[in-house]
């Protein structure tokens, strides 16, 4: 009896309920793991010498930035101490029922990255511009693929066929661009034809996905997986049977030239990384911005999200659910198809079998990692691109770890991050469920 009254006394007023924060120990645990890893590096594999960060692309830059050189050993220890401090702070935050802010995670990640680079590049010079430039380039197909996935799931169609859409785009762009260039002799017309072809190819894959999942109620994951295999089989078949016999006409695509943007490309560090790219990358900036604004600040985006979250409600207010789904998935497919041109026209490489090499699946991971948000998914894709290019750079300067472990790193980091920081994510409520009007 007494306990009951006591409980009533302690019970918080209703206002306090709204402020209750669900605390999670995942972030401190993830921080702790990375801190211990950094400590292990510092203790068991101490770096020797200085690490030099080179921040200029070439000697012809208008504004010169001096190389930054840090002694590796003290820098690494400083990083370890800072990481430990952040871990303790996060433990304290969670213990006092508060949330670990996002900026702390960002600071932590940057520190981890700096510590790792300093350790791996000890006694050598790290070409930072090349590292970041390559990272951005490698992220291009991932970002386009991730945007496709975000749009698809936001409208209620799970898209596992991103890989197939990228591959279809790569194949079609190579063939159409090659044929048109060789017949007209004008490179830019060929490139334009390649872009249009790639977008149509990606759109077609998206339409098949949408048709099967909307009209025939086939499980969307099944259609997606099968479409990947189908596109893989089709492109492999036509490559072996048709393209390889006649590569000069059918499979020698032109290349998108690099277009430095005046003024912007002269900004130190940022300029060479972001504004000396090809047109494909500039279109990527625009696409990311357009998808973000469109999704959250236009009527189109509101309808799209409504259909993905609560199709019944959307239908009630007069939105045609299935038509919205079909055309948005088709449109999203065009984005992934455009991303496919990175593989061929983007670098002037002939189409080859299975040249997307699982990038579509990584884009899918970026969608979920980014929590179905275009900007966050883009950041996740950039992370993957950075990690794969980091391996390339470190293998050039000679890293102390076997290259396989470097290649493994982004995937391990993703697992830890998904398990520790993202945790149980909630996608659009109606994603994967067909809408049957009753």
């Amino acid at each position: 009896m007494s306990t009951v009254t006591e409980h009533q006394k302690v019970a918080p007023p209703p206002d306090a309920l709204a402020k209750t924060v669900v605390v999670s120990w995942k972030a401190p645990i993830a921080y702790g793991i990375f801190t211990l890893l950094a400590l292990a590096l510092a203790v068991f594999a101490p770096p020797v010498g200085d690490t030099t960060y080179r921040l200029v692309a070439s000697d012809k830059d208008a504004i010169k930035v001096a190389d930054i050189s840090v002694p590796a050993m003290p820098a690494l220890w400083a990083v370890v101490v800072l990481l430990a401090v952040i871990t303790v702070v996060s433990v304290w935050l969670v213990a006092s029922k508060r949330r670990v802010p996002l900026w702390l995670t960002v600071v932590y990640a940057v520190l981890v990255l700096f510590g790792f680079l300093t350790w791996a590049g000890a006694g050598a010079t790290l070409p930072m511009i090349g590292l970041l430039f390559g990272a951005l380039s490698l992220s291009v197909p991932l970002i386009f693929g991730a945007l496709t996935g975000v749009l698809g799931e936001r409208v209620g169609i799970i898209n596992i066929a991103i890989e197939g859409q990228l591959l279809a785009g790569a194949f079609t762009s190579a063939v159409t661009a090659s044929v048109v260039t060789s017949s007209t002799g004008v490179v830019w017309i060929g490139l334009l034809a390649g872009v249009v072809g790639a977008m149509i190819a990606g759109m077609l894959v998206g339409m098949v996905l949408a048709a099967f999942s909307i009209k025939y109620f086939v499980d969307q994951v099944i259609v997606g997986v099968v479409l990947n295999v189908l596109v893989l089989g089709l492109t492999n078949f036509f490559f072996s049977q048709v393209l390889s016999n006649n590569a000069a006409v059918l499979n020698s695509p032109p290349r998108f030239p690099r277009l430095p943007i005046p003024l912007l490309s002269d900004i130190p560090v940022i300029g060479p990384v972001f504004f000396r790219q090809t047109l494909v990358v500039y279109i990527m900036y625009i696409t990311v911005a357009a998808v973000y604004v469109g999704l959250f600040h236009t009527r189109w985006g509101l309808r799209l999200r409504a259909v993905g979250e609560h199709p019944q409600a959307a239908d009630t207010v007069g939105i045609n659910v299935n038509r919205t789904r079909f055309w948005n998935v088709a449109f999203a497919g065009a984005i992934a198809g455009f991303g496919g041109i990175f593989f061929t026209l983007g670098s002037g490489i002939a189409f080859n079998k299975e040249m997307t090499a699982g990038m579509g699946f990584i884009a899918l991971a970026a969608v979920i990692f980014g929590g179905w948000d275009p900007i966050r998914a883009t950041l996740a894709a950039l992370l993957f691109g950075f990690a794969s290019n980091l391996q390339n750079t470190l293998s050039v300067i000679g890293s102390p770890v076997p290259s396989e472990f470097m290649l493994m790193l982004p995937y391990v980091v993703t697992i830890i991050a998904v398990a520790g920081l993202v945790g149980k994510v909630r996608g659009p409520a109606a994603a994967g469920k067909p809408y049957i009007k009753s």
Partner: protein, 444 residues
């Protein structure tokens, strides 16, 4: 192949429930309405059942996919292209060229996968069928793994990683140790299964404990396993063959290899003990899913995890168990590759794409164990026949991928197949007079 269970609980247009109560009539209604429609004849009923059944849809899907494949073969054949240049002068030539290319390819496919009529004796002629079963072995095992995870509502794309880890463990035990015959094989087999289970279990554990999406984790673990195995393969003392600089293991010890099933009869077939294990795994998975309480809980979680939790089922531990078993089954696929099919030492490509093919096998088999068994044999036949088709007719083996994916796509969409072949729709059976029920509305 019952289609009542779809991996994600998709509403099936042909579910038996929908057939049984087409208009929601209750027994009371039927008693009040006199039977005005004469009973259809028994033959008519049987005909109805055949043309609206799943077996026919499956057969027609295969036919349809083969037709699409034939069109692709014909269009890309050089003789056809040459003959079609003068199509309007002599259309017969084009048709003959089309027939030659398509029939040649499909005869080669059949002869490479079932029975080769060009061989003299039955023993030699039937060898392609045993090759088919050899190819089917890892597909069945892997398909069971993916299918079991489907039934629990999880999507295991990590077959590749699980196979690689299992193959590495089994291979390491098989060439690195000296044990008596029988025991050695058993040790390697169990080691491989544990390896696969461990790799799959990571994804299950992370999903159960932290809610990490298993699709991301398994994709990532594929890459991790690939690079891990690649590293071990080029590091002396781990998996690399001594005295070699190639990223390849030494051959497996004789004592650890799966015995060839027909060796005691002196027949030259490659079919090995792994097929018996795949068969046993099929029975086991069937038993787990439809006869054990664990399987009941699996299916409950797969149908609706929230309802399962309310019913007192420990959902997170189901995720872990399912991924452990799924990983072990994919591990069996990896083990059968290294101990049975490729015993001369393996590279990082030992999974041979089975990890992804297994997904299609599981989808075609509709996640039911015997369906997967049959689907595995069908895809094994395509694999065995595809290579002989490429060798004999120069048709790229990739056409098999196209045909396989189209089969799954068509089988998954029965209405599409029905529309193409103009078959009747079972959900729209003969029109019955609908009872007019008037409800009295009480005014408030």
């Amino acid at each position: 192949m019952s289609d009542a269970q779809s991996p994600h609980g998709t509403p099936q247009t042909t579910s038996p429930v929908a057939d049984a109560t087409p208009t929601g009539t209750t027994p009371r209604d039927t008693s009040t309405v006199p039977a005005q429609v004469p009973e259809p004849s028994r033959w008519h009923t049987m005909w109805q059942q055949i043309v609206t059944g799943n077996a026919l849809i499956s057969v027609l899907s295969v036919v349809l996919a083969l037709i699409v494949g034939a069109i692709m073969i014909a269009f890309t054949d050089e003789n056809v292209q040459q003959a079609s240049a003068y199509f309007f002068a002599r259309p017969g030539d084009t048709l003959i060229a089309v027939w030659d290319s398509v029939s040649g390819a499909y005869v080669a496919l059949f002869q490479g996968s079932v029975y080769n009529f060009r061989r003299d004796s039955f023993v030699d002629g039937i060898k392609p069928l045993t090759d088919t079963l050899t190819f089917a072995t890892p597909l069945i095992a892997g398909g069971l793994g993916v299918g079991l995870a489907f039934r629990v509502g999880m999507f295991n794309i990590g077959g590749r990683g699980q196979m690689l880890i299992a193959a590495s463990v089994a291979g390491w035990l098989a060439f690195g140790f000296d044990l008596p015959w029988g025991l050695h094989m058993l040790v390697a087999l169990i080691g491989g299964l544990l390896g696969g289970a461990l790799w799959g279990g990571i994804a299950g554990l992370l999903k159960a404990r932290t809610g990490a999406h298993e699709v991301i984790v398994t994709i990532m673990l594929n890459f991790v396993a690939f690079y891990l195995v690649s590293w071990m393969l080029r590091t002396p003392g781990l998996l690399q063959a001594p005295g070699s600089s190639n990223p390849k293991t030494p051959p497996m010890a004789e004592t650890a290899q799966f015995p060839k099933l027909f060796q005691w009869m002196g027949l030259p077939y490659n079919l090995h003990f792994g097929f018996i294990l795949a068969l046993a795994a099929t029975v086991l998975v069937w038993w787990i899913l439809s006869r054990s309480s664990l399987g009941f809980r699996f299916r409950a979680v797969g149908e609706n995890p929230n309802a399962a939790r309310v019913a007192g089922i420990n959902v997170p531990s189901m995720y872990v168990y399912a991924m452990l078993i799924s990983g072990a089954l994919l591990g069996l696929a990896g083990v059968s590759q290294v101990l049975g099919t490729v015993t001369t030492g393996f590279t990082a490509g030992i999974d041979a794409g089975v990890g992804f093919d297994a997904i299609t096998v599981a989808l075609l088999g509709r996640s039911s164990p015997w369906g997967i068994f049959l689907a595995g044999i069908l895809f094994g036949a395509f694999k065995a026949g595809g290579y002989s088709m490429q060798a004999a007719e120069g048709v790229p083996v990739d056409i098999v991928l196209v045909v396989q994916s189209l089969i799954v796509l068509f089988i998954a969409a029965p209405p599409l197949v029905r529309t193409i072949f103009r078959l009747p729709d079972p959900s729209r059976g003969p029109k019955r007079p609908r009872p007019i029920v008037t409800k009295e509305v009480t005014a408030k």
